[in-house]
């Protein structure tokens, strides 16, 4: 990683220009969504209000709509076991949702692990820590491939035996075991060993969701990229900085839309940019049309 000159001045320009609230708008929205989802799951067991029942692997919304994690579903199918239609329906619903809004919206807006890894990254920035270990982002592809192959060969849901993501999500709703220890390990790994190690380099779920969102409709774009003053703040805060460059620094005939499936649509680049280069919109933005005009209509898309 080249960003060794990072100091905790990141985002200060944006705060000065836009004010604290606008410079944290997407972050706050994301946290509200993340905690609301956890709260919805907890409302049943704690208050007896069953809006949603189950956990993020599979659940039942309003006692009628099945929702299932397509990643767990895929593993189940690969084991060769025949399953009920309910879980298929649930997986299709979730698949279609993320297909439209962006696969890794799951990572940035839903998965509770993100709160922890974001915190680790925040600490890393505040303490100005350097990456000690460089991990390859291909690791998660290798792990994903291994998991899918193992599901076929062992006929078992092998990943679900150790998956810290579903484990934490489950224990959050069904009573905490020791998965918080695992989460603590992920925090320390991310904060002190390697930047964004878990979500950006190891987690196969995120990789899987990046494929779902490869052609997703809702995208972050750098439509106002001619305003960019090269402060590098967006690269510093972005959990997948490699996705920004083609859109921000691409030639005039290249789309200003961040097209990589790895983008989590977290909006941290939008928040941190003092020049309002980035906005959230759809994938079919025409650079000629939007380069000069102020692009307010695109920014209002809500999730």
């Amino acid at each position: 990683m080249k960003l060794t000159d990072t100091t905790n001045t990141t985002g200060m320009d944006a705060e000065r220009e836009k004010g604290w609230w606008l410079a944290h708008k997407w972050l706050l929205l994301r946290r509200i969504v993340q905690f609301s989802i956890i709260a919805l799951f907890l409302l049943g067991p704690l208050a007896g209000i069953w809006i949603i029942k189950g956990n993020m692997s599979s659940s039942l919304l309003l006692e009628s709509v099945p929702l299932s994690d397509p990643f767990v579903f895929l593993q189940t199918v690969l084991t060769g076991v025949s399953v009920q239609q309910t879980v298929l329906m649930g997986a299709i619903i979730i698949f279609v949702f993320y297909f439209l809004v962006g696969g890794r919206v799951y990572c940035g807006w839903v998965c509770p692990i993100n709160i922890v890894t974001d915190a680790a990254d925040w600490l890393r920035r505040k303490l100005n820590l350097k990456s000690k270990v460089a991990l390859s982002r291909n690791n998660r592809s290798i792990i994903l491939l291994a998991i899918l192959c193992l599901s076929v060969f062992t006929g078992m849901l092998v990943w679900e035996l150790i998956n810290p993501v579903t484990m934490f999500q489950r224990e959050l709703v069904f009573g905490m075991g020791i998965s918080w220890l695992l989460l603590l390990s992920i925090f320390f790994l991310d904060a002190f060993i390697s930047r964004r190690a878990w979500c950006g380099h190891l987690c196969p779920m995120g990789k899987f969701y990046s494929y779902i969102g490869k052609y997703s409709l809702i995208r972050v774009n750098a439509a106002q990229r001619d305003r960019c003053n090269d402060c590098m703040d967006c690269y510093t805060v972005c959990p997948e900085p490699q996705v920004i460059k083609p859109a921000l620094k691409g030639s005039a005939d290249q789309s200003p839309v961040i097209l990589s499936g790895e983008c989590t649509n977290c909006g941290q680049c939008i928040d941190v940019c003092a020049k309002d280069v980035f906005s959230l919109g759809h994938r079919f933005i025409n650079p000629e049309l939007h380069n000069s005009k102020s692009d307010t209509s695109q920014r209002e898309v809500s999730l």
Binding site: S58, V72, T76, Q84, T86, F153, E160, R170
Partner: protein, 285 residues
């Protein structure tokens, strides 16, 4: 060799390096997880799966997505999800009979809640569930075998007389009392665990065991002669000559039942009906 080299040879070298690294990592990760998954397939004997779960643990574990909907719909909080510290596959539902047994709800809500069919939706009558099998594992401590009246396991059994019956046998210690022994019948026992829960001993003498451990199985080639005979409607080999005792006239022997039988329709003896008549015989003439 320079690191930033761009010749085909160096590119190839780097490519091969990366591929080998990936393959090595892949192999190590797969082996570790593969070996662990083998271990995770062994369910501890005291952990019972909900009704409708496949007896094949591997099959159950691959169908179960660990969503906990069965746990949520269990009205008696019998079911729980395994955590890392339990020796049950992570996140899968189970219960322990000695702690909280299955109450055998008639509508089987846990099965209905299962979105994947890991709990078989064709199970509609809870009496057909086979979560395990009750086995009176310790006759040395079960007080019924000491000649004491207990029968608690029989009394709590939801399928009394079918899954557990009471059989009487001779009490050899006192010589004059009966032993009233609970006997489990595998054709009716669902493995709900209420007997194990209720057993009055410090450590239950009757325990629910996984069917795999509790049941024997006759060899595929093995045939029971009398059953084959019944099926065929007659002897399959040269019929046996029926064994006959050489009995006095008027007496028969019932092999399957009472044993020696006196024929009631015995002809009158020349000796009259009562002893007095016999003594007075001849005096009247």
């Amino acid at each position: 060799m320079s690191i930033a080299g761009g010749t085909t040879l160096q590119q190839r070298r780097r490519f091969l390096e990366n591929i080998s690294r990936a393959a090595g990592g892949l192999a190590l990760f797969s082996m570790g997880l593969g070996v662990y998954s083998r271990q995770a397939q062994s369910l501890p004997a005291e952990a019972l799966r909900p009704p409708g779960a496949s007896i094949n643990e591997t099959e159950f574990q691959s169908a179960c997505v660990r969503c906990g909907l069965c746990v949520r719909d269990c009205p008696y909080d019998t079911l729980k999800l395994a955590t890392l510290v339990d020796s049950v596959a992570l996140g899968t539902p189970y219960f322990e009979a000695r702690k909280v047994p299955c109450e055998m709800c008639e509508d089987i809500p846990c099965v209905k809640a299962c979105p994947t069919g890991a709990l078989d939706h064709t199970l509609t009558n809870i009496d057909d569930a086979r979560m395990g099998l009750a086995v009176l594992v310790d006759q040395e401590t079960c007080i019924a075998f000491q000649g004491l009246r207990c029968e608690v396991c029989f009394n709590v059994c939801p399928l009394q007389h079918k899954a557990i019956s009471l059989d009487r046998s001779h009490n050899a210690r006192t010589g004059k009392h009966a032993l009233i022994i609970p006997v489990v019948h595998s054709d009716a026992c669902t493995g709900c665990g209420k007997c194990e829960r209720a057993c009055i001993l410090e450590e239950a003498a009757i325990k629910i065991m996984p069917l795999k451990l509790a049941k024997g199985q006759l060899g595929q080639h093995y045939r029971l002669g009398w059953k084959e005979k019944e099926k065929a409607g007659g002897s399959l080999v040269t019929p046996d000559i029926e064994h006959k005792y050489n009995l006095p006239e008027g007496e028969t022997y019932d092999y399957a039942g009472e044993g020696l039988k006196q024929n009631k329709a015995m002809p009158d003896t020349p000796f009259g009906k009562s002893a007095l008549e016999r003594l007075n015989q001849g005096l009247q003439k």
